[in-house]
């Protein structure tokens, strides 16, 4: 494991991965459930934020309910020696939710840069993919957009702690 989480951290992860309680003192409520000191719970959560174990604390909009129904996985074949620069610039676009470098499987799968693009419908996604193409410019050796046609399973990510 990259970052040392002890047993107490893991108990806090398990207790909060489904959400924080909606009471005036949510960290106290978590502490009480776990038999811990509220100040210690807050200190451990702050530490997990600092080390990146917690990405952020806040609300997660349901993009589908909010009208963003055209989600396309755009995939790009870019030179490996430029992927870091291009990945960062594509990730900075405000309609891109996830941007990763992933392995190719040649010859069937030449794409090494993945950017999930959100829009209200497929046309809007295609227009945004065109904006990504502008950012990538002449480093674009080929790209595609894969739209989801069906959700086959969605259990949510259950973290193992």
């Amino acid at each position: 494991m990259a970052l040392s989480l002890d047993a107490t951290d893991r108990r806090i992860v398990l207790a909060t991965q489904k959400g924080l309680p909606l009471c005036a003192r949510p960290y106290h409520a978590v502490a009480e459930d776990l038999g811990l000191d509220p100040a210690e719970v807050q200190a451990r959560i702050r530490r997990m934020l600092e080390t990146g174990v917690i990405r952020r604390i806040g609300v997660v909009p349901n993009h589908y309910a909010l009208g963003f129904r055209g989600n396309g996985m755009s995939v790009w074949d870019v030179p490996d020696d430029r992927i870091e620069e291009l990945g960062r610039r594509v990730g900075d676009l405000d309609f891109v939710s996830h941007c990763y470098h992933r392995p190719r499987f040649l010859p069937e799968w030449p794409y090494n840069l993945f950017a999930m693009v959100h829009g209200r419908d497929r046309d809007e996604v295609r227009a945004k993919v065109a904006q990504v193409a502008e950012v990538i410019g002449d480093a674009d050796r080929g790209h595609d957009v894969l739209f989801s046609t069906r959700i086959l399973k969605k259990t949510g990510l259950r973290l193992v702690a």
Binding site: M1, A2, R10, T16, Q17, G19, L20, L22, C23, A24, P26, Y27, Q42, I45, R46, M48, T51, V53, I54, R55, R56, I57, G58, V59, V60, P61, N62, H63, A65, L66, G67, M73, I83, R88, V90, G91, D92, V96, S97, H98, Y100, H101, R102, P103, E108, W109, F114, L146, S148, T149, R150, I151, L152, K153, K154, L157, R158, L159, V160, A161
Partner: protein
Amino acid sequence: MTVAARNSIPALAGLDDLDRAIINGLQGGFPVCDEPFAAVGADLGVDGDEVAARIENLLAVGALSRFGPLYHAEELGGGLALCAMKVPEADFDRVADQVNAFPEVAHNYARDHAFNMWFVLATETPEGIGETAGRIERATGLRVYTMPKLQEFFVGLRFEV
């Protein structure tokens, strides 16, 4: 988003300025302190109970999918990988059932491409990814293309409603 577009979306039709301020402003940075809702409310000109009640309602109507800490799965020591398969159309439903039966498959999407099945594996250990992919290959008789992230450029999505 324009007013016309907003009103065409059921989950947004009943939202007022405070709801929108919460959705737009609380996608990160929820404070870690004794009374965090009161701290947020002070910035928005309402009391903490009102903030908590609004979040509860936004979760209930489906405008938000969750509220709380967002954990970074790999930092917790488990394995996580996107996987793809090329499934013959005639076998698609059988293979979807076989793949979905694995508890390690967190979500699974059909996409309009020769690589037509895309799922996320989440395992207790990093080694579990390869083992589980092998078990899925043996169960389905089809190759699993495992595409773990090599580098992450951005994760998150900033929505304005």
